[in-house]
Symmetry: D2
Subunit: 311 residues, 4 copies
């Protein structure tokens, strides 16, 4: 089953679980996959920006992908295949599609500047990996320093039939969604799925702007599913009420560098990860940070019982 | 009265008010100054990053500074003097100090890369403007692309007696505050004031890390004053309760580009500005954005009556 | 007399001469202006990137411009007016045009990324300064980090009647000239003057690609005039012979940072500047650098007697 | 035989030869290796920045390394192992050392900014690949946007016994060599080999500043060997005479993007490569560029018969 432009819901960014000794923690992969299915997510992204992919040896990466796919109970699994060259990107893409992946995500190298450079890059990438492999544009200027206007995204979509989704994490980004949906309405761009990243920091408004859902790894993906569902049911106030209760923690987890450590720490406290360990190099989780996260969880638990985790 | 390293509280970043025709709106300056005094702020920053300084002619900038000073009822007024050359920076600094400013704020040019380049820049700047003029380091990597480690800040503080304050807006930044306060405790750096920017997005935790207060322009500076005061009184939960109610709007206003338009719009709705106009070039405030801000204000008003503004 | 799209020859980038005490050296301005006229240059650019403009106070800058204009014997004088805001740019442009300047040069701020951002910037700048003021695009990605494709330049030229010249210093840049001249031939862009910078490092081939001349400050502008003239006379080999003799020094002077110190040093040794002084902050000219430049001059003098300067 | 800090001479950057159909051209590898030995080079760098490494599949890269090593007749072979993560870097390093490589070259990721980030990166990299593997720092800010001060290089050398060489291609860079050699003289840094890149554009002066030789891929490495030898014999004028004859072509080949196409074209014209083909994506070699290179070769042949290649 391949990813399509009709994708909706929450495609969760999955972490790569490690044990304290740095080895891959397979039982936690299984536990997370089960949890994602039960929580109502509609897909799983593996080896994304926050999947610590660069810290994995080639064989390890493949084994993580294979394990998630085998446990996903039919949910589409998307794999990040960004690489410094097209040869490696093509080899990795072929491998993961053979393993049963539903599509791949491609981030732009941070040397791209002009509109044409960006458009050319995605055209070459799609040809290199094969135009039968669905791909996702990752639009994350804060991290990649590459700025794609709506017009550039339209050009990429128009030139590449294999482009099915935008991982939207520009900032600010609300008008960008409105503009892209306007392109669809005026007939100048075919429909693609728009799924929002940035730890969900603006998901409450992105949904009303026309997003199809979230594609991020916030430590409560079950809450993201609820927000998307409530929006679908027209319950705007209820969606905001739930979202606002989580916002202090969403914001805290969205901090670059330390954010992934926070995310893994909460997933451990929720019983989903055996360990909060990251592979080196990694920003440490200080005692004060842990105390602050515990405090945020305690406050959140007053509004959302899922946060009432045992100490 | 000059700015000192003992500065605390909320030094509010003041906008430059314009009428719809683009001319400077002096009555709104007066109204804002009165409001800042009554709200309990402890200082005012004029011509900062969000004061639209580059859109002002030389004489206009001076007149805005002079007006704010004349209406500040003794509050210290800090002026942003960042400029492409030291000659212009020195001329502007002399002028505003002669007008009665309490100090100046200096942002690093975005071409600085190495530690030595940053340290040299501040040494040269302080000598150029005169070492009797107190200055503030603006540490805002997201906008300026200049990354200052705590060690670099310590070197700047050690070399420059005129450095009295850090406008802290690194992101993530909590550990940075802890590290700098650690330098003070271990005796390797003299005390400076640390005031937090970034629209206050992390003010709730920055206070417990050792910050002295806020130096930002969020559209409810009176709330920032309350949070700083509550922290001073040891009321952590109360501070968070108030802060969390504002967080959805804080986050919304913190968006680059559109944020200033949102801020001015709310200040107008609060009756403080006659017009929400920005000078060109400026990001427009779309109807959908206005609706979203109105919605956020209505939700906020349930927790904080100051947000219950007439439509 | 205003600058036009028919500009040809060598528009020399003039330094700002200082005495050893840092004051402006007016007699050297006069001497340089005389020299530029006699050398056959067709224009003078003042307050360019290497004119140390940011180190001049506002009044000093105006006095330097006025002096060069008064001594230029009718040569068009172009003034660099790049500024962080349109208000300052407009004020400076008006002032220098009133003094008799022929046009202005505008560099893009190094925050511009997308094609639209660049095009919008020049449109806003031209409107801000007045569309009756001829302007030059400075296309220097190495220093400004802004990459303009030929298509972007075409858009700027098409939208702005006041755009008359491109200061071409992209690197590599030969194909860019060919592409732009191709746009003119196929009727998709009106003609503009293309004058080459980069210290003339590729002038030998830029001329055959279709450039109209040079717009740079190499310490032998008389040689640049010869190369342009020889090309105009169809003497390609002779142009290269002369150029190649200078290339070791051209390359040496083109080094960022230290290059301006080298240039001033040679202009002093040629008797055109009273002092090689730069205003602070500036890269120092070490003894070893001086020895290397002397060595290069001695070697050059074997081919070009103009380099046989007294020790 | 492992690379040491005593390395001198010319370690040539070898291209990866392709046939017109894009497959690896093994006979050309053999021919190049023979040529490098006969030309007097003292080492070979494979899979460097201009070895098109990112376009090679994993197995292809290994086969190119193995072939060069098998044909190098005892010359040390250095391999570029820069990678987005330490896991891949360690795997590649182990593989090439097992194949017989003499050491590895590591470029910094272009996200590094502060001094500490750069120092930490090299410490982590050396530990990841194993401290028994000699490594080379590649200091190339123009391409990598990472600026290393001499003090930072000293810290890397001091912390990492495995650091044996600096590939020096900062620009400007002459003072940097002088400063590093000064560190050695004053005893604050142990000796390392400094080999110069940047296509040799400043090799004539870098030698007298204290460089040990060149580490670059200019299409006449035999000329680079001569220049290094002449300097060693104290024949400064003769070294410059030969160098200056090549400078027009050196400069032309040093252009980013198109430079590698020029290099391969000349190597083909010299009979060393069967084809000038690059793998896609690559900058094309236009007819006009080819004509210009032919013209430069014809001019060069008047001074250096090695450039008198058959048409």
């Amino acid at each position: 089953m391949k990813l399509t432009a009709e994708q909706k819901g929450v495609v969760v960014i999955a972490p790569t679980p490690f044990l304290d000794d740095g080895s891959i923690d397979v039982p936690s992969i299984d536990r997370l996959a089960d949890f994602y299915v039960q929580a109502g997510t509609t897909g799983i992204t593996v080896l994304g920006q926050l999947g610590e992919a660069p810290k994995l040896a080639f064989d390890e990466a493949a084994s993580v992908v294979a394990r998630y796919i085998s446990k996903a109970q039919g949910l589409p699994v998307v794999v990040g295949v960004s690489a410094p060259g097209f040869a490696a990107m093509a080899a990795l893409s072929k491998q993961v599609m053979d393993l049963g992946a539903a599509g791949v995500m491609i981030a732009p190298p941070n040397t791209l500047r002009t509109d044409d450079q960006i458009v050319n890059y995605y055209r070459q990438a799609s040809r290199a990996i094969g135009e039968d492999i669905p791909f996702i544009i990752q639009d994350y200027p804060l991290t990649f320093s590459v700025q794609m206007t709506p017009g550039v995204i339209r050009r990429i979509v128009s030139e590449n039939p294999a482009c099915v989704m935008l991982k939207h994490e520009d900032w600010p980004g609300l008008e960008k969604i409105s503009t892209l949906r306007g392109f669809e309405r005026d007939g100048s761009m075919r429909h693609i799925s728009i799924m929002c990243g940035n730890n969900g920091l603006f998901l409450d408004f992105e949904m009303s702007r026309g997003a199809d859902g979230a594609n991020t790894g916030y430590c409560f993906p079950d809450m993201l599913c609820d927000v998307v569902r409530l929006y679908g049911e027209g319950k705007r106030d209820a969606a905001h009420d739930l979202f606002d209760a989580h916002l202090p923690l969403i914001r805290y987890e969205q901090q670059p560098g330390v954010g992934l450590a926070v995310r893994k720490y909460v997933l451990m406290r929720r019983g989903l990860l055996s360990s909060a360990a990251l592979r080196q190099p990694a920003a440490p989780l200080t005692a004060q940070t842990r105390e602050e996260v515990d405090y945020l969880l305690a406050r959140l638990a007053k509004h959302d019982r899922r946060a009432a985790v045992a100490p």
